[in-house]
Symmetry: C2
Subunit: 372 residues, 2 copies
Amino acid sequence: MENNKFEVTPYEVTGKVDYERLEKQFGIMPIDDALVERIEKLAGASNFMLRRRIFFAHRDLDWLLDEYEKGNKFYVYTGIAPSNQMTIAQLIPFTFAKWLQDRLDVEVYIQIPDEEKALARDIDFDTAHALGYAAALDIAALGFDSKKTKIFLDTEYAGVLYKQAVRVAKYITFSMVKDAFGFTNKNNIGSIFYTSMQAAPAFLKSVEEGHNVPCLIPLGVDQDVHFRLSRDALAKLGYYKPAIIHSKFLPGLSGAPKMSAHNASDTIYLSDTPEVIEKKVMSALTGQQATAELQRKYGGDPEKCVVCQYYKFFFEPDDAKLKAIFDGERNGTLLAGEHKKDLAKRIIEFVENHNRMKEKIKDRLDDFMVRG
Amino acid sequence: MENNKFEVTPYEVTGKVDYERLEKQFGIMPIDDALVERIEKLAGASNFMLRRRIFFAHRDLDWLLDEYEKGNKFYVYTGIAPSNQMTIAQLIPFTFAKWLQDRLDVEVYIQIPDEEKALARDIDFDTAHALGYAAALDIAALGFDSKKTKIFLDTEYAGVLYKQAVRVAKYITFSMVKDAFGFTNKNNIGSIFYTSMQAAPAFLKSVEEGHNVPCLIPLGVDQDVHFRLSRDALAKLGYYKPAIIHSKFLPGLSGAPKMSAHNASDTIYLSDTPEVIEKKVMSALTGQQATAELQRKYGGDPEKCVVCQYYKFFFEPDDAKLKAIFDGERNGTLLAGEHKKDLAKRIIEFVENHNRMKEKIKDRLDDFMVRG
């Protein structure tokens, strides 16, 4: 049935991703209605990213909720490896983490591995560090509670992380990393070691508390491989395996399977000006016909339409309104120009509000940061 | 001419080590009389480890002394990866570092990589950490000046070291580590990364000062491989390549080419009791004939005699007295029993004095430790 080719690694996503096949390939479980309902019940609210399966798969989420119901509260761990200004796509796990914090009163640990991209790409460490701080501010500005949120950069928190990372590293061989990431003997030893630094925050709270604390990691599904490697190591160390909840990829403006922080014309950065955002959105791929006339006649395909997808992933939480947009695209009443202008307006509004939040919070960013 | 087989790696030393061949193999320079004289002149004193070529080879020592003469003072960096109680053999680089500090007023950085052996061997991290602190006390008790000495354990100083280690790691591939250490794909990623942690203190003072500071590393020649890997990386980062001065191996009591911290009966630990030391020394290999009668008649070979070698390496700094011991062994006037008893007395005296120093200093060990 399926014959399209796609590849999902932490370094690259190519082809049209078939998420059902990916579930089988990665050995992760689909999120079904019952699971969504269970979370909604505990949270006392519905979350559009769950309803729409932007978060579509998981590991051990049932177990995590069992523990929660028994009074064994989890903490949330997520992160971002900065290689450029932060993109709107990169907000997804953080937005979801904030929702979890608001609804379930959980602590959130946010790792910013400012060494990772400097090791893996042609970015120098100082630049990556500065980008890490820019990301920290973008994340804090989403409205996390500073009393329940720790943000840390690896080069500033290695005093805490390295000690735990080496314990994980002892159980991970080069063979395992080679298979998992497609590394060769030419990869540098920092990149090879890195996955154990990413593993450390998944049991750090258990170390701090002196007893096991469940952990939930919301992440883009391309990052799952890190924990395929380290979950077993954590179990060997006597810690819970972290539960994971996986998100789909927000496409690039041109329809690329995953918005890349490195392709400026395909990507909306939180640092983009309104003019730039408008220009970029006006260039976005839609699922529409070649002309307005044809579009009115035949209608378009919301699944192929980047504009529709941005609404779905992020900018239209209201299902009825989203349906109206999708219907308009499908039945030809919504034309590309208007469609894009509306989205541009929405994104500009979001970014302007985000900038106001950043301005407001920037002097107390240190309330979120931990070092050591 | 030479047909004996030997191998020197940081993990194992086998066979009778031919140091001249090792110099060629490693690409290190012999220490000649002119260099010893030059150091003695600067130091205003002679050092028996240099005179006797216990420190026998180097990298860039001429350059280091040129810089020193120009007023560009160096610092000393050495260390020990604890896997057991500290042995008398392991004191060699520290004793030399202390001499340099006393004579040339230099700072000394001492790394105790308490993760290294836990990654490489079947030792748990907590045990390695405790052994690291035991080693720190043994080292501080040698009489270092706490104002000019920094001792650090990797798991407690990773906040400083990791940030520098990843910069080195970017330039070191798995291929390079594989060739240098004989690693395979089965080695764990912590061990693979480790060499960059060992590289960090070699330019740490330059980072701290904001300008290049020459560094001298006294080490057992088996550790040279770490810096063969990282010296080039340091140059690429814009730092001086560290100068290195290499020591020979103190043999095990049974005549093993290198005293091993893992073979208790072959090794004298600083923690051994006088009774244990006496018993161990009495079992030591000498270069003597099978019976007292034969020894009186034919004499023995001081080069093969472990007892003579212990005097030479550590316990008899006075050349005239050492000559008398060697002569006695050679001409048959010094019999094994007396020979060993004398050495045992000397070692017991040393260890008892060392224990007194430890007792005296233990409450101010923190003056030496840096964390971060």
